[in-house]
């Protein structure tokens, strides 16, 4: 720990003097992924697990490469991503609006507290029978589960973000006669934005998880369903290839959210700290 902190202390200098030679972020990320795949490859080789049940990374990657050539695979990815995108979008908008409303009113904050805390830990998985009953195997079932799970993540982040508004900034807005809506738009929203971005990043992967879980347990088409098929067909490498694909989707989603974050939070210490020497 000490070492890490130490490095940070002189970090500014390092960054400045070694700037041209600094390893690009993407390369470092790739190294991380390779280390992970290497460790996975070694697990069966070292006999920690049996290769029959957890095939080495190379075998799984080969199976994935095979999948990549199949239209069925891409159709499944498309199905999953559709549910993901719609569910996430609805959850974020809903949570954002409600979060701002609740967060800015001490009354609503207290009034809804117990209910929110009661509803939050209800597993989406437990709602499957209800979802199926309401919507059958249609996409709406997946959406219900996705929205339910993601909504709380974003909501909590928004509530904490709203509470973080700087007094002086808020007083400035009030003294210049900003209306309620203007204060939300010009002061509360930007302050909350970093929290929201974390919420979206959390929710994005939860949405992916739920999209796949729903397909897994309800049987609507998509990657999750392909996983069940591979499982019940005893195609182990094929199953892990699909899981790997899921993981890569997660990485991809993160790259996108990072790019967005870099744009919308360029002013924030968390992002600007990275850019200045």
């Amino acid at each position: 720990m000490t070492q890490i902190a130490e490095e940070q202390v002189v970090g500014g200098h390092k960054a400045a003097t070694t700037r041209p030679r600094q390893t690009p972020k993407a390369v470092l990320g790739l190294i991380g992924v390779l280390v992970f795949l290497g460790a996975w490859e070694l697990l069966p080789v070292l006999g920690i697990v049996n290769a029959k049940y957890l095939p080495p990374a190379s075998e799984v990657l080969a199976a994935l490469a095979l999948d990549l050539g199949l239209t069925a695979f891409w159709v499944a990815v498309g199905d999953t991503m559709t549910a993901w995108a719609i569910g996430l979008a609805i959850a974020v908008v809903l949570a954002l609006v409600l979060g701002l409303l609740i967060g800015m009113s001490p009354f609503l904050r207290r009034f809804t507290n117990s209910t929110i805390e009661f509803l939050r830990p209800i597993p989406s998985v437990a709602l499957i029978p209800l979802a199926v009953l309401l919507f059958g195997m249609k996409i709406e079932s997946s959406l219900l589960l996705i929205i339910y799970a993601c909504f709380w993540q974003v909501l909590i982040q928004v509530l904490y973000g709203v509470a973080d508004v700087d007094n002086v900034a808020m007083q400035t807005a009030r003294s210049y006669g900003f209306s309620h809506w203007q204060r939300v738009r010009d002061v509360v929203f930007p302050t909350m934005l970093p929290y929201l971005m974390t919420g979206i990043r959390l929710a994005a992967s939860v949405a992916l998880i739920l999209a796949i879980t729903a397909e897994l347990l309800i049987g609507s088409p998509g990657l999750g369903n392909e996983i069940t098929l591979a499982q019940s067909g005893g195609a182990i490498a094929g199953m892990y290839a699909l899981i790997l694909a899921t993981g890569f989707l997660g990485v991809l989603i993160n790259v996108v959210t990072r790019v967005v974050e870099k744009r919308v939070l360029s002013w924030h210490p968390s992002v600007r700290g990275e850019a200045t020497p």
């Binding site: 003294s175 006669g177 924030h268």
Partner: protein, 287 residues
């Protein structure tokens, strides 16, 4: 030569009903904290006429910022009241601008300099091209016309403070409250900004309440100077500054009357610091 003693009131000057734009009456503010109550202001009473430029001085921690926030409708008073145009203030009134002591935190870090200055105008519904002119003029006036596209955190302390001033000036308020607005700028810039405030005040007829620690500045700027006592805070003295209306950095400051006033205020503050309290205030405290 004028009389040695400046026209002054121990306790704040009050105006007849209807003449005051802003009246502060028996204002008391106690902050409640976990560790106990902190009395920031004990009892303040004074009036500001329409279009007056009044400076407020007082020891550090005497409650100037607190008073300003109460006037701005940002803090609820514990006792007493503040009236604007006869109306008790319960929230920030319209057409009022405040320059906060914590200038750094009062700028929005997510907006660029010009956007920060523009935002209140935008929210007030000023048309776009008019806004553009106002923003440019204000930035020009505070000497920041060259950095409209920078973010506040890319500016030096003094520059940030000037952005906050530009924002207030561009807003063209009717009441302008400024809390040590020139604390972070150099002497020369300070002089320029003093003249800027005087000219804005003259041009727009705005009512200004100006907190400062610089006694020369308070005299050079103000038509009146209110001196707060040290805690528990009351008005120590309220002095009329009988200097000519046209002021000039070199000329005005070298007037004998300027020096006289300066000495007077200095002595009063020193008394305040040493715990001397005006009689009225003491009786008020006693009862």
């Amino acid at each position: 030569m004028q009389s040695e003693n400046p026209t002054s009131h121990a306790g704040g000057r009050t105006l007849p009903d209807g003449e005051a734009l802003l009246s502060v009456r028996n204002l008391k503010k106690v902050y409640r904290t976990d560790a106990g109550d902190i009395e920031a202001v004990r009892n303040l009473t004074f009036d500001l006429g329409r279009g007056e430029l009044v400076c407020l001085v007082g020891p550090s921690g005497s409650g100037k910022t607190t008073l300003l926030k109460c006037i701005a409708g940002l803090l609820a008073s514990t006792e007493g009241e503040v009236r604007l145009d006869g109306q008790v203030i319960t929230g920030p009134p319209k057409k009022m601008a405040v320059v906060f002591q914590e200038y750094g935190r009062s700028l929005f870090p997510w907006l660029r300099v010009a956007e920060n200055v523009e935002l209140p105008l935008k929210n007030a519904g000023v048309p776009k091209n008019e806004r553009k002119v106002l923003v440019e003029q204000a930035l020009e006036a505070v000497g920041l016309a060259h950095v409209p596209k920078s973010y506040p955190w890319q500016l030096s302390g003094g520059m940030q403070q000037r952005v906050a001033i530009a924002r207030a000036v561009a807003y063209q308020p009717e009441v302008l409250l400024m809390d040590e607005p020139f604390a972070a700028v150099d002497a020369q810039t300070r002089a320029d900004l003093e003249d800027l405030i005087r000219s804005v005040w003259k041009k727009l007829g705005v009512t200004v309440l100006f907190v400062t620690h610089d006694i020369d500045e308070s005299i050079y700027l103000g038509e009146r100077v209110i001196i707060l006592s040290s805690s528990p805070t009351v008005v120590q003295e309220d002095i009329v500054i009988d200097l000519p209306a046209e002021r000039d950095q070199l000329e005005t400051r070298s007037l004998p009357r300027f020096t006289e006033l300066r000495h007077h205020v200095y002595a009063e503050i020193q008394k305040a610091k040493q715990g001397h309290r005006p009689e009225e205030a003491i009786t008020m405290v006693a009862k």
